[in-house]
């Protein structure tokens, strides 16, 4: 045992770096670089060396064992039995990175990743309530052991946690009995009304539709004005970024669910490696599906640095992204967590900005949403429309909601959370195919807020029509699920969101669905009237209903298209501006997706239609 007594009698151990250097596992330059990083970030040297890729976790574990004069145990080569691992509860084990590996009489042998963490050792010993003998093992091996032993528990929690805690907020049931009853009664009344008094019923319907359209347009106009005229995000300045002390940065979990993503995985790993954040403080979880060995195999071949952890979700129903996220969240160790998709390229300083933004934001802000944009904006007309749409959403609508205290439906990725809070909320609903939007509503209902901040993640705009329709079908289906879930009991929803939040929920989520579904009917009526000038169609819109409908048609549609153009202009995407003005063509596709979504809601509500990624790479190859 390498132990040197200090003059004051306290045993002094060889520094870890020296041990590794002596063993020839690191070079002098590597050690110097790691020590410089440690000076800046204040993190443990072993983790730094692993994150920099200089050594693997087992080498660090062996060196730590030598440093502390403790035995080393390889948990993969010599896995402990599950019943022994379960002597310590999973939460404590994960938090303090310790697993019981053997029992000798009354003494429990516990493998730890950091024998120098005295607080952890005390806590584990107290938890066990028995004498403990320590051994050292690799940090990753501890997590792998826990996953091996508890995977069924994790899986069960991943798909049932919210359902058990808040069944009223889980989309496991598409329609409640009450909703079914109300819908059937409404349909029956409509049917009878059309038979008995078709004219008043149809006129009433058309007037109601016109009123809804007008209200939605007015709301969007208001959001636009507020977005343009007020500060609607948490701004992090360049000076604040420069001044940040990396030693104060907390651990950050990055959850990256992956399913059939071999095309974009290399770029993703590069983007994550490029993040400007102390690597040793990153808890990156690449979450694979057991049914997708190809992506896992590729990831292994690419050999990302040691702070990238692989999790494999056991196959099982439902196979959805939120279930994978929940599986990863259970094992998250970061104070904050963020979700990135496979095709994402976040700005390198996004995590630091998020930390600063959280510190500046009021305490009820538990989520920060970065803006999303695309790196293949100009690939074709579809990507330009998509770009304009995203620009108006993230640069006008969401900031407008933020400025007006409305409910913000989260984007699919680049949502940064306080980890503890997202657990408190029940994490993501595995039965909702837009788990992001749903979580945004749930956190608002719980009295928390989402804020925007000035960072952007670039992702791939869907460039192929059928793929786009599938993606948009899922999004709209998920919004339908979200609306149905939260409207199961409108009274508590109104009370929790407040009148303005309730209205903005109806407008943004309900309104988007409504417009997409209603547009084809109204456009058909309008087109038939222009061609045939049928008096019966004129009769559907008498008096004020006609004027309201005309305002919605001529002004409302222009406004929505103008918002697309404005969003593109705000982002400086000049070529997308004119596509924004041509948005009505794009809306036709939205309506196709909306009706498809409605159909899927009835027949396959939980089915996750996978979006193919990497199409832009194929296009680049084709044009090269």
């Amino acid at each position: 045992m390498a132990q040197v007594s200090r003059p004051d009698g306290v045993a002094r151990r060889d520094p870890l770096g020296q041990i590794l250097l002596r063993k020839g596992l690191v070079t002098g330059d590597q050690l110097a670089a790691a020590l410089e990083t440690q000076r800046r970030s204040g993190d443990r040297l072993g983790r730094i060396l692993v994150s920099l890729g200089y050594v693997n976790q087992l080498a660090v574990a062996r060196a730590l064992a030598e440093q502390f004069g403790l035995p080393f145990r390889d948990l993969l080569a010599d896995p402990p039995p599950a019943e022994l691992v379960r002597l310590l509860d999973e939460d404590t084990a994960r938090r303090f990175r310790a697993v019981p590996v053997a029992v000798d009489g009354d003494v429990v042998e516990v493998a730890v990743a950091d024998p120098g963490d005295e607080a952890a050792l005390v806590a584990v010993a107290a938890r066990l309530g028995r004498p403990v003998r320590w051994v050292v093992t690799g940090e990753l091996d501890i997590y792998r052991t826990l996953e091996r032993v508890y995977r069924d528990v994790y899986l069960d929690r991943a798909r049932s946690d919210l359902l058990l805690r808040r069944p009223d907020q889980s989309a496991h049931e598409t329609f409640t009995g009450g909703q079914l009853g109300a819908a059937l009664v409404t349909l029956a009344l409509l049917f009878i009304g059309l038979l008995v008094a078709p004219r008043p019923v149809t006129v009433g319907l058309s007037a109601a539709v016109a009123a809804v359209y007008a209200a939605l347009a007015a709301h969007r106009l208001y959001l636009m004005v507020r977005a343009l005229t007020s500060t609607s995000e948490v701004e992090v300045t360049a000076e604040e970024l420069r001044a940040i002390d990396e030693q104060t940065l907390p651990e950050y979990t990055i959850l990256v669910p992956l399913y059939r993503e071999t095309e974009v995985l290399p770029a993703l790993l590069g983007a994550l490696a490029a993040l400007d954040y102390p690597a040793a403080k990153l808890d990156i979880k690449l979450i694979f599906d057991e049914d997708d060995p190809e992506t896992l195999a590729l990831a292994r071949r690419l050999r990302p640095p040691g702070h990238f952890k692989f999790l494999v979700v056991p196959s099982g129903w439902p196979r959805t992204k939120p279930k994978a996220l929940n599986y990863g969240l259970i094992q998250a160790t970061g104070e904050y967590c963020v979700i990135y998709d496979a095709e994402d390229i976040p700005e390198p300083d996004q995590l630091k900005k998020a930390v600063i933004a959280f510190r500046k934001a009021p305490p009820d802000v538990v989520c920060l949403q970065a803006r999303l944009s695309f790196y293949n904006r100009d690939q074709n007309a579809l990507t330009r429309w998509f770009t304009a749409e995203y620009a108006q959403w993230f640069d006008l609508t969401l900031p407008g909601l933020h400025a007006t205290g409305g409910v913000i439906p989260l984007g699919g990725n680049s949502n940064h959370f306080i980890t503890e809070k997202v657990r408190e909320l029940g994490a993501w609903d595995p039965y909702n195919v837009t788990e992001d939007a749903d979580l945004g509503v749930r956190l608002a209902r719980a009295g928390y807020r989402t804020a925007m901040f000035n960072s952007t993640t670039y992702e791939e705009a869907n460039s192929e029509l059928a793929n786009w329709v599938r993606q948009r079908t899922r999004w709209l289906k998920g919004w339908m699920q979200t609306w149905l879930v939260h409207m199961r009991d409108p009274g508590p929803l109104f009370k929790e969101l407040g009148p303005w939040g309730f209205l903005s929920f109806q407008s943004v989520i309900g309104g988007t669905i409504f417009i997409a579904l209603a547009n084809p009917i109204l456009w058909t009526l309008t087109t038939v009237w222009f061609i045939g000038r049928w008096a019966e169609i004129e009769a559907l819109f008498p008096g004020p209903a006609f004027y309201l409908t005309a305002v919605s048609l001529y002004l409302g549609n222009f406004l929505f298209a103008y918002l697309y153009a404005l969003g593109a202009a705000l982002r400086g995407y000049h070529t997308a501006v004119r596509y924004g003005l041509l948005a009505p063509v794009y809306w036709f596709l939205l309506s196709v997706a909306a009706w498809r979504a409605l159909f899927h809601l009835f027949i396959r509500p939980f089915h996750w239609e996978k979006t193919a990624h990497g199409l832009h790479l194929q296009a680049e190859k084709a044009s090269a």
Partner: protein
């Protein structure tokens, strides 16, 4: 920012009160309502009170915004027949224009001396006249000044790289442009000139793509407004260019109103009118051009060109025959233009402070006084303007629209029954003064042509102006050319006042306010349509119902 907003609100309130006070004097005490103002108010009133109330009664010749703005006001009992409904809009617009001048000058670095420019504007008799009488020029002034203000804001934000602020200003620019194009046809010119300005500046600073994007963001609202105007002309009147080529378009008045028309004289009239309305306009433009060239300031150059386009356009319209004559009112935008040009010319650092006071004082003194001389002289303009000038000096009203008021008074006390007529030839003033548009069968009514072809049993009276000048455009004179001179077998002369003759239609009196409206323009749908739609809806309901009732389990579905 809050203090600035408060200042603007206070300024608008003060100027609005000033203009409304004058409105009461001009319209109620002196009775000097201009025909154009009365016409707009009448159009707004006809939306609600005509025999065939509908929004399209606003017509498709005059641009709709000024009348649209009056719609809520004409519902106030007694407000519109005095002309105060229109005057409320013009007074508010005049006040807003003054506040915009203040804001422009402040943004250009003027201190309290900017109030001299505002005073020069508010005290200008021509501005008082247009703001107090319900004319549409104040709304155009607001649009023009809005364009200038937003252009300055956009140019500044764009130069500083503040994209959010630049886009916000572009939206304001677009809204100002839309207001302009829906107010007067000069607004189409100003909107187009502004598009060129935005494009040129953005092209110079940021390249072609950025220029295209900026122009699109700015131009979308006004361009769409023009599209809607043309579209509704096509949809309702059957001709997309009805406003330009139809029987009541300005072109129709050119041969009718001006015999012996001389384009060169027209151009001289423009210069003369501009000189008398705002002589400082020429100096201010020349000064700004000179300063902008010396400092090489594209923004100043572009804004000088912007204001110059107003008199140039009027001159072009005269020369090309689009306009029969000009009225001083057309050039009143030059007055706020002068203020804006002066503010632009003397923008910048403290070196100009004393100059600002001096020049501001000059503008404040000269502007109103020369305009007063101008309105008195006016070689080619409406009587009402000169009469206003005289009334201003002599503090007394003179009679205006005497014949129209007398005929209106007669109609009000005469027997009941609908009156067949058209609005051309000055008749709209008669209708206006009766305050009862519901009594008149006019071209806007869907049964007008039916009644016109056979008035007996459908109209009680027929009112026609003398078939000279614009009276030749009167529809009744066109269908019955001899009626005015010698009546007809079915009509006997009831009353003659000035150029107007009222004929009583023979036969039994028709029901009051009777309207025989033809069926809706649409044609009936084919026989299969209704059952097909009902079947479709029923099928949809049944499918959805079945889907809702379909048993399902959470697992695997």
């Amino acid at each position: 920012m809050r203090a600035l907003r408060r200042e603007s609100v206070v300024l608008v309130a003060v100027l609005f009160g000033w203009n409304l006070g004058w409105a009461w004097v001009v319209l109620v005490r002196w009775g000097l309502i201009p025909a154009d103002a009365a016409a707009r108010t009448l159009l707004a009133a006809e939306v609600f009170f005509s025999r065939d109330p509908k929004l399209s009664n606003l017509g498709f010749v005059r641009l709709p915004l000024p009348a649209l703005l009056q719609l809520p006001l004409v519902l106030v009992p007694g407000l519109w027949p005095t002309g105060l409904a229109g005057a409320t809009v013009s007074a508010l617009a005049g006040a807003a224009a003054g506040a915009l001048i203040n804001d422009i000058a402040r943004a250009l670095g003027w201190g309290r001396s900017r109030w001299l420019l505002v005073a020069a504007f508010a005290l200008n008799p021509a501005v008082i006249y247009v703001s107090a009488s319900g004319l549409t020029e104040p709304v155009l002034m607001v649009a023009a000044l809005g364009l200038v203000r937003c252009f300055l804001g956009w140019a500044d934000a764009e130069a500083k790289g503040n994209r959010r602020l630049a886009v916000a200003w572009l939206v304001g620019l677009g809204l100002s442009g839309a207001v302009g194009v829906l107010t007067r046809y000069e607004g189409w010119l100003l909107g187009t000139v502004m598009a060129l300005m935005v494009g040129l500046l953005a092209l110079k600073r940021s390249g072609a793509d950025a220029a295209q994007a900026a122009v699109l963001v700015y131009a979308a609202p006004p361009a769409y407004a023009v599209f809607l105007w043309v579209f509704f002309n096509w949809l309702i009147m059957g001709d997309p260019l009805y406003f330009a080529l139809g029987p009541y378009a300005a072109r129709a008045y050119v041969p009718a109103g001006t015999e012996g028309f001389d384009p060169a004289a027209g151009i001289r009239a423009v210069v003369d009118a501009a000189w008398h309305l705002s002589p400082l306009f020429f100096f201010a433009t020349a000064g700004l051009l000179a300063f902008s060239l010396i400092r090489w300031d594209p923004v100043g150059l572009l804004l000088a060109a912007f204001w110059l386009s107003v008199p140039l356009f009027i001159a072009f319209s005269l020369v090309s025959g689009q306009l029969a004559s000009i009225q001083y009112c057309y050039l009143t935008p030059l007055i706020p233009g002068t203020a804006a040009l002066v503010a632009l010319g003397l923008r910048g650092g403290s070196a100009y402070v004393r100059w600002r006071y001096l020049v501001g004082l000059l503008v404040a003194l000269l502007g109103p006084s020369t305009a007063l001389v101008g309105v008195l002289r006016e070689p080619m303009s409406a009587n009402s303007v000169r009469v206003f000038g005289e009334a201003l000096i002599f503090r007394e009203g003179t009679s205006l629209w005497t014949s129209e008021r007398e005929m209106a008074q007669y109609l009000t006390t005469a027997g009941a029954g609908p009156i067949l007529t058209d609005t051309a030839g000055g008749v709209e003033m008669v209708i206006f003064f009766t305050g009862e548009p519901g009594r008149f069968i006019v071209p806007g009514d869907r049964d007008f042509e039916t009644v016109l072809r056979d008035p007996v049993g459908k109209a009680r009276y027929v009112l026609v102006p003398a078939p000279a000048g614009t009276g030749r455009l009167h529809r009744v004179n066109q269908v019955y050319p001899g009626l005015y001179a010698s009546g007809a077998g079915w009509a006997s002369l009831e009353k003659e006042v000035g150029p107007y003759r009222l004929y009583r239609v023979a036969g039994p009196p028709p029901p009051e306010r009777a309207i025989t409206v033809p069926p809706a323009r649409g044609s009936p749908a084919p026989g299969w349509a209704r059952p097909a739609v009902l079947v479709l809806i029923a099928a949809g309901i049944l499918v959805v119902g079945a889907a809702l009732l379909r048993p399902r389990s959470a697992a695997g579905s």
